[in-house]
C-alpha cells in the first residue's frame, strides 16, 4: 500500500495531521480517513462484531461494513463511524473498536474457536437454567461483549440546528445522472436543490482518471450549476429519508476544518426539504463475492480499489487478484495495471467480452475464465488465494484481492414510502418499483450502468420534473455535452466496459449462481451435510456466514424477514448495503425459488445513521419547549416567589416572605386569606370571548347548566362534558351584554376548550351566529380574596363603587385603567369574599402593584398556587385531581346544576347505566380523626377491619392541613353505597407507610351557608 507521487483529487500542498489508535499520521486535504490510512500502509482497522476477526477497509463509501472507528472524546465521543465517509481533518483523533487490549491482539478473538457453537440463534436454545432468572446472569456477559463502539455518557456540548427548505425539484445524488438532471431542471427555470453525501460532487465520475473526458464534463457541469441562482448544490449532505408529501430529511455537515455559513456554528444541521418533485439519482453499490475467509484485510470491492487509485492516488496493493462475475471489474484491473502492478483476473464466466480480453492481453494481465476463488489465506492481511479453475486449483500469492459480484441499485430511498423495489432478471438486481407522480429516477439506480446513458436519462427526467412543476423555459442548453466523448470512445481503453456495455444497453453480465459454484455444490448439493469449518461471510459487519443462512433455512426460518431476524443479517450500521442481495439469492437457492419469489426486506429510514441531537436541533435544555409568562412574572421573581411549572405556564408556588419552605408558606398564606386578604395571579386561566346573536343558545348547549337566563352583569359557574358524558372542564362565564359573554376555563384546558367550541360551530351548528376568540393573552388576571378584599379594592380604585349593592357576589363591573380595559368580577374560589380583577395585559403589572400598595394597610400579601389549592379543598371545590377525565357530574356532586335539562353536550351518554352504578365513587370530604397523624393524597380507602388489598372503596384526591379546623382534611372519591357521613374509614398509603383513620364528612369544610361570600 502506498501513495502515488502524482494524480488524484487530493491537495498535496495541504498536509493534514491525524492520529489512529494514538499513532500520529499524515494525509492530505481531500483524503477520507480510509484513504489516508491506506496511504499510511494501515490495512487492519477493526474487529468484527461477533467473532472479533481482524478486518480492513472493504469499500470507499457509506456501504462500508468493516472499517468502523470511534472519533472524539468525552461528550464529543462518536462511535461506529465508517472511515470511508470521514473527511480527513487536522487534529482528527480516531480509534479502532471492539477490541481489547489492542487491535492487533484482541482477547475476544477466541470467540472464533467457539464458532462451531455460536451459530445463528444459538442463544435462543440455551441460557435457560438453572433458575428462572438465570438469563440475567448470562446476559450480563453477552451485553458487554456486544455493542461495537462506546458512546459518551457526558452531555453533548455541541449545537445542532434544524431548518426548513423549499424547492421545485430535489435531486438526490450528484453523479452523472443527478448533475445532468439538475442542469436540465435548472435551465428550465425550476428551483433546484441537488444533494450529495460526499464532499465532492461527481459520484462514479470521481472513480475515473482525473484527466479523462468524464472529468472535463464534470467540471464544466459544476461550473454551469454554480452560475445558476435558482440551483443550489449541497455537498456533505445526506438525504436520510423520504417522507409523505415529498418531505425529505437532510443532514448537513461541515467541511474538514471549514465552517459552512449555511450551517453556522452548529455541528450538524437537519434540513426539512419540501419539494414538489424528487429525482432519485442515487447510483448503485457493488456486491462482494462469497468465499472462505472473504473478510480478510486486503480484500475489497473492485470499485473501491479504483476509487482509491484514481481519486486518492493510493495504490491499495502491489500483487493484485481481481475476482469478478461481470465486466465492471475490468476497468479497475486496467487502471491498476496502468499503475504498474501485477494482476491476475479470476472470472467466473466462460466468455467475458472479447474487447476486455483483448485489452487485458495488451496490458499483460492473465485472465482465468470459469474460475473462482475458493479460499483466502492470511491472518491480519491477505497473503494468497486458492483459485479453483477447470484444470484444478492454483494458489496465487497477493496482497490485494479486489472483488466484484455485480451491482445493486441504491433503491433504499425510493422504497421509504413503501413502494417495493422490483426485480430485473437481465441485471439480476432490484430496481425502484412504480414511483409516485412527481417522482423520477435516473442513472444506475434504474439499472442502467452506463455513464453516457445516465447523463441522457438525467437530462430527460430533469426536464420532466421541471415540467411537472410548471417550469416553462426550455431553451437549448447553452452548455452542450459531447456524449461521444463521455461515452469513452473506443480509443479510451480505460472505459472499455462502458463502451462494451453500450452494445446491449446493459452491463453484459450473465448472473452465475449467487454463491460461488463450489460452495453451491458443497452446501446446496448435500442438504444433510454439516456446515464447513471455515467461514464464508455474507454480512461482514454482523458476522453472518453462508453456514448461518443454511442453518436458518434448515430450521424453517426461511422467509426473508425470518432470515434477517434469526441471523441478524443486515442489522448492522451499514444496514446490509453490501450483503442483503447476496443473502436473498442464497436463500432463494436453498429454497429452489427465484429471487423475486422470495422477495426483499423493507428498507427503513435513515439511509445512513443520523445523530439524535441533529434531529432535536435547538429544542434542547431550557429551549426544549417555550414557557408562558404572565404579565406579573417579573414581579413574582423579584419579590421572592418560588416559581413552579404548570404545563407551559410559570406560576408562583409560594412566596418566601410567607415561610422558609412550601409547607410553612402555604399555611401562612391561607391564614392571611382567611383573616385579612391575599392577592393571587390567575392570568393563566383560559379566557374566551363569546359573542353573537346566538351566543346564549350556544352556551346553553355546551354547558350542562343554562346561561340564556343569566342577567347582564352577572357571572355563573358552569361545567362542560365530553360527548361521552364525562366532565371535560369547569369555569365561570359572565354576561357582558345581551349577545356578549366572557368565559374562563381551567389553566390546563383552555386551548382544548376553544378548539372544541370551534369544532361544534364549524361542524355541528354552523347555523349559530357565534364568534369565539381566545383572549387569554389579552387580560392580566388577579384575585384579591379575603374579608378585607373589598376595602382594598375600594382603596385601589377610588373612582369605582364596589359596594355590595353595586358589586354583589357573582356581579361584574366594567371600567378602565389609564385607557386600558379593566373588568372586575366578584367570584370566589377560596370561599372568602373575593374579586377577580382583569386588566389589559399591558398594564397588568401596574394594577397588581397598585393593589399590593393599597393592600398594605390591610395586611394584603400575594399568595401562590399551593395555598390556592389548599383554600379550595377547605371550601370543597373540585379541581384537576377530581376532574381527571373519568368522573361524571354526579361523581363530583354537581348533578344539581344540570337539573333536568337536556340538549347539552354529553347529556345522553352521561346517562349510561354504569355511570350511576351505586358502587361508583362520589365526592366526599374526609377529616383525619387520629391526632398527630396526617392525610395523604393518593391514599386508598377501606372499611375498618376490611383486608387492605385490591382497589379499595375509593381514594383521597386532595388534602390540606386546615388552619381553620386545626385538622388534616381532604377531598376523596368514595363508593356511593358506602359513603355515610360520619362513618370512619381507613386510609392507607403503602408507599409512605401511612395508615390512618379518616371520617367521611361534607366536602364543604367551612361556611357551608356561604356567608363569607355574600354581604
Amino acid at each position: 500500500m502506498r501513495r502515488l507521487h502524482e494524480g488524484g483529487r487530493i491537495d498535496r500542498s495541504q498536509r493534514i495531521e491525524f492520529t489512529f489508535d494514538s499513532k500520529a499520521l499524515t494525509g492530505y486535504r481531500g483524503d477520507t480517513l480510509a484513504s489516508a490510512l491506506l496511504a499510511n500502509g494501515i490495512g487492519l482497522v477493526g474487529r468484527s462484531f461477533k467473532y472479533h476477526r481482524p478486518r480492513g477497509i472493504y469499500s470507499a463509501g457509506p456501504e462500508e461494513p468493516n472499517a468502523l472507528v470511534t472519533m472524539g472524546t468525552a461528550g464529543r465521543r462518536e462511535p461506529n463511524l465508517p472511515a470511508t465517509t470521514v473527511e480527513l481533518a487536522d487534529g482528527l483523533v480516531a480509534e479502532s473498536q471492539n477490541r481489547w487490549p489492542s487491535l492487533k491482539f484482541d482477547i475476544q478473538s477466541v470467540n472464533g474457536l467457539f464458532a462451531p457453537f455460536l451459530s445463528a440463534g444459538f442463544y435462543y436454545k440455551t441460557f435457560m437454567g438453572p433458575t428462572r432468572r438465570a438469563w440475567m446472569f448470562y446476559e450480563h456477559f453477552i451485553r458487554n461483549a456486544a455493542g461495537l463502539g462506546r458512546a459518551g455518557e457526558e452531555p453533548d456540548p455541541d449545537r445542532y440546528e434544524v431548518r426548513n427548505l423549499f424547492a421545485d425539484v430535489a435531486v438526490i445524488g450528484a453523479g452523472p445522472a443527478g448533475l445532468s438532471a439538475a442542469l436540465a431542471a435548472g435551465e428550465a427555470g425550476a428551483r433546484v436543490v441537488i444533494v450529495e453525501q460526499d464532499f465532492l460532487a461527481g459520484g462514479t465520475l470521481l472513480s475515473k482518471p482525473a484527466d479523462g473526458q468524464a472529468s472535463a464534463w464534470l467540471s464544466g457541469t459544476l461550473a454551469r450549476l454554480a452560475s445558476m441562482p435558482n440551483v443550489s448544490v449541497m455537498t456533505r449532505t445526506t438525504v436520510f429519508g423520504v417522507y409523505d408529501s415529498n418531505v425529505l430529511g437532510l443532514v448537513e455537515r461541515h467541511g474538514s476544518g471549514t465552517i459552512d455559513p449555511e450551517i453556522g456554528s452548529a455541528r450538524q444541521m437537519v434540513a426539512l426539504l419540501r419539494a414538489r418533485t424528487i429525482v432519485y439519482a442515487t447510483g448503485s453499490i457493488e456486491r462482494p463475492l462469497t468465499f472462505d475467509n472473504n473478510d480478510r484485510p486486503g480484500i475489497m470491492l473492485a470499485s473501491a480499489a479504483r476509487i482509491y487509485l484514481n481519486r486518492f492516488a493510493v495504490l491499495a496493493g502491489t500483487r493484485v487478484v481481481v475476482a469478478t462475475d461481470n465486466d465492471s471489474a475490468y476497468p479497475s484491473a486496467f487502471d491498476l495495471a496502468a499503475a504498474g502492478v501485477e494482476i491476475n483476473i479470476v472470472d467466473s464466466r466462460a466468455e467475458p467480452m472479447p474487447v476486455l480480453l483483448e485489452q487485458s492481453r495488451r496490458l499483460g494481465i492473465a485472465v482465468r475464465r470459469k474460475s473462482l476463488i475458493s479460499n483466502a489465506s492470511g491472518g491480519q492481511a491477505v497473503r494468497a488465494v486458492t483459485v479453483s479453475e477447470p484444470g484444478g486449483t492454483v494458489t496465487l500469492e497477493c496482497d490485494l484481492v479486489v472483488v466484484s459480484g455485480g451491482w445493486s441499485p441504491t433503491v433504499h430511498l425510493t422504497s421509504h414510502l413503501c413502494e417495493r423495489p422490483v426485480y430485473r432478471e437481465d441485471i439480476d438486481a432490484f430496481v425502484p418499483g412504480k414511483l409516485r407522480a412527481g417522482h423520477f429516477a435516473a442513472g444506475a439506480v434504474t439499472g442502467g450502468f452506463i455513464t453516457a446513458g445516465a447523463i441522457e436519462e438525467g437530462r430527460r427526467v430533469g426536464t420532466e420534473a421541471a415540467t411537472f412543476c410548471g417550469a416553462t423555459n426550455f431553451a437549448q442548453p447553452s452548455f452542450s455535452l459531447n456524449l461521444a466523448e463521455i461515452n469513452a470512445g473506443n480509443n479510451d481503453s480505460r472505459h472499455a466496459h462502458l463502451f462494451g456495455a453500450a452494445k446491449d444497453g446493459s452491463p453484459s453480465r450473465r448472473p452465475e449462481h449467487p454463491l460461488s459454484r463450489r460452495s453451491a455444490e458443497r452446501w446446496f448439493g448435500n442438504r444433510k451435510a454439516g456446515l464447513p469449518k471455515d467461514k464464508a461471510f455474507i454480512d461482514l459487519q454482523m458476522d453472518v456466514t453462508v453456514g448461518d443462512i443454511v442453518l436458518a433455512h434448515r430450521e424453517g426460518y426461511e422467509s426473508v424477514e425470518h432470515l434477517k431476524r434469526y441471523t441478524t443479517l443486515g442489522m448492522g450500521t451499514d444496514q446490509g448495503k453490501t450483503s442483503n442481495f447476496r443473502a436473498l439469492s442464497a436463500m432463494a437457492g436453498l429454497r429452489g425459488m427465484t429471487v423475486p419469489e422470495i422477495g426483499t426486506t423493507t428498507f427503513r429510514p435513515p439511509y445512513t445513521p443520523v445523530a439524535v441531537g441533529a434531529l432535536a436541533g435547538r429544542s434542547q435544555r431550557h429551549h426544549y419547549k417555550p414557557f408562558r409568562r404572565t404579565p406579573m412574572h417579573d414581579w413574582h421573581v423579584a419579590n421572592g416567589a418560588q416559581m413552579l411549572e404548570t404545563g407551559v405556564w410559570m406560576r408562583p408556588w409560594f412566596y418566601f416572605a410567607s415561610g422558609r419552605n412550601v409547607d410553612e408558606a402555604y399555611l401562612a398564606e391561607m391564614r392571611m386569606v382567611r383573616e385579612a386578604a391575599g392577592l393571587m395571579d390567575i392570568s393563566t386561566l383560559g379566557k374566551i370571548d363569546v359573542q353573537g346573536p346566538d351566543a346564549a343558545e350556544f352556551l346553553d348547549r355546551v354547558y350542562v347548566n343554562a346561561f340564556s337566563k343569566l342577567p347582564i352583569g352577572r357571572a355563573r359557574y358552569g361545567v362542560m362534558l365530553r360527548d361521552d358524558g364525562i366532565v371535560f372542564d369547569d369555569g365561570t362565564t359572565t354576561r357582558l351584554g345581551e349577545r356578549h359573554f366572557f368565559m374562563t376555563t381551567s389553566t390546563a384546558k383552555g386551548p382544548d376548550v376553544l378548539s372544541r367550541l370551534e369544532f361544534l360551530l364549524d361542524t355541528a351548528w354552523p347555523d349559530l351566529r357565534v364568534s369565539v376568540t381566545s383572549v387569554t393573552d389579552e387580560w392580566a388576571a388577579m384575585s384579591v380574596a379575603g374579608p378585607k378584599s373589598r376595602d382594598i379594592l375600594a382603596a385601589a380604585f377610588t373612582n369605582l363603587d364596589v359596594s355590595n349593592k353595586a358589586l354583589p357576589h357573582m356581579g361584574q363591573l366594567e371600567a378602565n385603567y389609564r385607557n386600558r380595559p379593566l373588568r372586575i368580577i366578584r367570584l370566589s374560589f377560596s370561599g372568602e369574599r373575593a374579586y377577580e380583577i382583569y386588566a389589559g395585559a399591558s398594564v397588568g403589572k401596574e394594577v397588581w402593584c397598585r393593589l399590593i400598595e393599597a393592600g398594605v394597610p390591610f395586611g394584603l400579601k400575594p399568595y401562590g398556587v399551593e395555598a390556592l389549592g389548599a383554600l379550595r379543598v377547605e371550601k370543597g371545590h373540585v379541581a384537576g385531581p377530581e376532574i381527571d377525565g373519568r368522573t361524571t357530574l354526579d361523581d363530583l356532586g354537581l348533578s344539581r346544576i344540570a337539573g333536568k335539562r337536556n340538549g347539552y353536550v354529553g347529556a345522553v351518554l352521561g346517562r349510561r347505566e354504569a355511570l350511576s352504578d351505586p358502587a361508583r365513587p362520589r365526592l366526599v370530604g374526609l377529616q383525619c380523626v387520629e391526632p398527630g397523624k396526617r392525610l395523604s393524597g393518593g391514599a386508598i380507602l377501606f372499611r375498618p377491619g376490611e383486608p387492605m388489598q385490591g382497589h379499595g372503596l375509593g381514594r383521597i384526591t386532595s388534602v390540606t392541613y386546615s388552619p381553620t379546623l386545626d385538622a388534616w382534611v381532604g377531598l376523596g372519591l368514595f363508593a356511593r353505597n358506602a359513603a355515610e357521613e360520619g362513618s370512619d374509614m381507613v386510609a392507607t398509603h403503602p408507599i409512605k407507610g401511612e395508615t390512618v383513620r379518616a371520617r367521611i364528612v361534607s366536602p364543604m369544610f367551612l361556611d357551608s351557608k356561604g356567608e363569607r361570600l355574600h354581604g
Binding site: S245, D762, A764, G903, L909
Partner: protein, 88 residues
C-alpha cells in the same frame, strides 16, 4: 410529515393542525335523545384501510376546521374543504 393544503392558507406541515378524527360520522342534533345515535357517533368507527374523510383544524393558521380526504394506506391526500361547506 404530511403537507395539508389548507383552502385558506395554502400547503402546510400537518403539525400546524389539530386532528379531529373521522368526519364521516354524523352528529345527532343537539337535543336528540336517541342513545343509539349518540353511541354510534361517539364510538363506532368504520376505520377503513383506504380513503378516509377526517377533520383537521388549522390551529396555527386560520383556525378553521377542515375535512380532508386521505388514503390511510399511503397517506395521499385527495381533497381538502372547509368543514362549513356542505358535504360533497
Amino acid at each position: 410529515m404530511l403537507r395539508i393544503e389548507c383552502p385558506n392558507c395554502g400547503p402546510r406541515d400537518h403539525d400546524e393542525f389539530r386532528y379531529g378524527g373521522d368526519a364521516s360520522v354524523v352528529r345527532p342534533v343537539h337535543d336528540d335523545a336517541d342513545f343509539e345515535a349518540w353511541y354510534r357517533y361517539v364510538f363506532v368507527r368504520e376505520n377503513p384501510a383506504g380513503p378516509h374523510r377526517e377533520y383537521w383544524q388549522h390551529v396555527m393558521g386560520c383556525r378553521q376546521w377542515l375535512v380532508v380526504g386521505r388514503d390511510t394506506r399511503n397517506h395521499e391526500i385527495a381533497a381538502v374543504r372547509s368543514a362549513r361547506e356542505p358535504r360533497a
